[in-house]
Point group: C3
Chain length 116, copies 3
């Protein structure tokens, strides 16, 4: 089964496609770094849309999502953006937990596994 890497760097790829399954790296917000959870979530979901397009798929085919919040108190704020973005006809499996992230300015990180 073929393996294709999207946005490969010296440390990791932004996404890896294995046959018809796509694995995305944990995405964080760089433009809105330090901004609100809502802004960071919006930016991350936008980045994910872009990576899925590059992989030849889209959010209707997301299988499973991991969301890490630096402060779980922002659960409702993150969900307000998620709920407006998710394909409600095709909702993925999801788990959301609190974890301190790689830099204090990152408040949200999202990784997912997607069909194509």
């Amino acid at each position: 089964m073929s393996i294709q890497r999207i946005g490969p760097g010296p440390r990791m790829s932004k996404a890896v496609v294995h046959g018809n399954t796509v694995y995305l790296s944990g995405q964080v917000a760089d433009k809105t770094k330090g901004g609100s959870v809502a802004d960071q979530t919006r930016e991350i979901l936008d980045i994910i849309d872009g990576l899925l397009a590059q992989a030849g798929t889209d959010k209707s085919k997301i299988l499973s999502v991991n969301i890490w919040l630096a402060d779980i108190g922002a659960f409702a704020e993150m969900n307000s953006i998620w709920d407006a973005w998710v394909d409600t006809a095709n909702p993925p499996a999801r788990a959301t937990v609190q974890s301190t992230l790689a830099a204090p300015d990152y408040k949200v990180e999202i990784a997912c596994i997607v069909a194509k």
Copy 2:
């Protein structure tokens, strides 16, 4: 490859089946919310048995499990229930870490990837 959703809601599905791989959302205990780690673990594993049955599979085919404990000090208590439940002839890969969960009354969350 077909995608089938089990227990879809406006935010997420309880499980998503992609071909012969099943992705479960992070499951938490609602009946025993606020109860002991043992009780919550027992309820969650029961919920997982039910979702796997709906997906046409069972715990003998679990591939990989993520367990989050709000307090890693409950590792032994969670394992006492896990060890009695797991199919010892067919044990999955597993990772267990500490993360604060979506509500203070949730002490355990379990997600898994399962073959069918």
Copy 3:
């Protein structure tokens, strides 16, 4: 699709192979337990190389990696070992977050999904 377990124990397997996808348990460092993040990361990546060999694959086919650091302040130290180990021609997707691990002497835990 066949399921093969590597290093099965009463609680979990070290790895589970499903068709051409391999799921590794979260690996921790036992020889260097209590040692530096660099030493623990080196030991864990060595363990992973061994498990991948047993599964009939290698690090060039890693699809997705989860890294948990007990203290995210060790991000650069962990990466110094990772960057020297990763197959830079074939970098995986990756997410790294902070989580307290099963024992205080464990500073790093790494799980991954790999093609074979």
